[in-house]
Structures are given as structure tokens and as C-alpha cells.
Amino acid sequence: MIPTGHYLLLSAILFGLGIVGFVFKRNIITLFMSIELMLNAVNLAFVAFSQALHKADGEVFVLFVIVVAAAEAAVGLGIIILTSRNRRSLNVERVDLLKL
């Protein structure tokens, strides 16, 4: 008897925390983790809707999101490695050569 609204609210909160993390964190890796957190929130919403609508396709979406997240992680971490190699820092604020 858990209202779908609960799940959605939780999803919104997690999504929001992801946003907060993204603007608050400095380490590029944890920044990326914040994004993963947001994706997780999306997943939660998908599953909740899927259950609420009695449709399974929402859960299929989750699978896709997870795959995409994995792909992003692979590439993203590759980029992070590249950056750290080039810049010797993982602080996103120090990656500011391109500006104005």
C-alpha cells in the first residue's frame, strides 16, 4: 500500500541530491557519481511508474538506462583518466583553461 507518490518523491529527492552533488562536489569522479545518482533516481521513477501502470516496459527502460550508464561510465572514466594524466588534478575547478 505504498502510494506511488512516495516513490516518486523519493526519486525526486535523490535526483535533487544528485544535482546538489553535481554543483557541490569538486572531484570529477564524485561529480560523475552524482550523475549516476541522478540516473538511479530516474530508474526508481521508471520502476514506480511501471508498477503503477501495470506495464512492464518501464522496467525495460531501466535496463536500458543501466546499459547506457555503463557505457557512459566506461567512456567517462576514460576521459577522467585522460584528464588527470594531462592536468595532474582531479579538481574540476582546476580544469579551466578554456574560458571567456
Binding site: F15, G21, V62
Partner: protein, 166 residues
């Protein structure tokens, strides 16, 4: 208060706390562990809703594979404590408020209209894996096949980016 509800709240609290911890931790590795907590909590919630396959995938792929990748990279790069620089005035002063405002906006909109949502389905009728696979290979076969290329791109990208100069 029913048991599922209690479980929900426990797991929800766990997820939120994990997320907050992710933010507050200064060691990247701690953040990663916090994220794993969130994921596990979410997997619990999926189970609670009856999405067993998704829960499993969540644990195995997300919590397992992806997060291991994170941890691996953290180790590889020997990422130390996060330095809390404040070069961005905008993010320093407006970042959190705006993030909270956005969240509040979204949350409020959801809360406002969750009444109009279809009736919530209590946990019980589990979505069978078969249903999922049928969907996946019928209706969603095209995106599914596309994801294979997506992964190929990811592999290719990772190779391209991470390879050492010859």
C-alpha cells in the same frame, strides 16, 4: 503503518542518507561506497515493488560492475581527498540554493499531481522476467540492438582515450 511501508521508509532513508553521504564525504572512495549503499537500497525498493529482475540487475551490473569500475579508477588515479576550492563564485553562493530550488520545484510538482497518478500498485504481482524479455525482443528490439553499438562505442572510446602514447 504496514510493514512494506516501514520497509520503504527504512530503505528510502538509507538511500537518502547514502546520497547525502556521497555528497559530504571528502574521500572519493567513501563517496563511491556511499553510492553503493544507495544502489543497494534502491535494489531493495525495486524488490519491494516486485521488480525482481531489475533489482538483480541493479545489484549485479550497477552495484557490481559499474561501481567496481569507479573504485578501480579511484585507485588507479590515486585520487586523494577532495579539495574544496571555491573558484566559482556562482556555484559557491548560488549553487546549493538553486539546486535545492530546482529539486523543490520538481518535488513540489510531483507531490502536487501525484493524486492524479494511476493508483499505486501494491507489491505482490512480480513482473516476470519473461514478460521483460518478450518486451525487450519484440517491442524494444531496435533500441536493444542499438545498445550493442552503444557499448561498442564505449569500448572504442575507452580504448582511444586511455591508451598510452606509443
Amino acid at each position: 503503518m504496514t510493514a512494506p511501508l516501514i520497509i520503504f521508509f527504512v530503505l528510502a532513508a538509507l538511500a537518502v542518507l547514502g546520497a547525502i553521504s556521497l555528497i559530504l564525504q571528502r574521500e572519493p572512495i567513501h563517496s563511491a561506497l556511499s553510492l553503493i549503499v544507495v544502489m543497494v537500497a534502491l535494489a531493495g525498493l525495486y524488490l519491494l515493488m516486485g521488480a525482481e529482475f531489475v533489482a538483480a540487475v541493479q545489484i549485479i551490473v550497477y552495484g557490481g560492475a559499474i561501481m567496481v569500475l569507479f573504485v578501480f579508477v579511484i585507485m588507479l588515479l590515486n585520487a586523494g581527498k577532495e579539495e574544496r576550492t571555491n573558484f566559482s563564485k556562482l556555484a559557491t553562493y548560488a549553487g546549493i540554493p538553486l539546486a535545492v530550488a530546482t529539486t523543490g520545484f520538481i518535488a513540489a510538482a510531483i507531490a502536487w499531481s501525484s493524486g492524479s497518478l494511476p493508483a499505486a500498485e501494491p507489491s505482490g504481482a512480480l513482473t516476470s522476467t519473461k514478460t521483460l524479455s518478450l518486451l525487450l525482443f519484440n517491442e524494444f528490439v531496435y533500441p536493444f540492438e542499438l545498445t550493442s553499438f552503444l557499448i561498442l562505442v564505449a569500448i572504442l572510446g575507452a580504448i582511444v582515450l586511455a591508451q598510452r602514447e606509443s
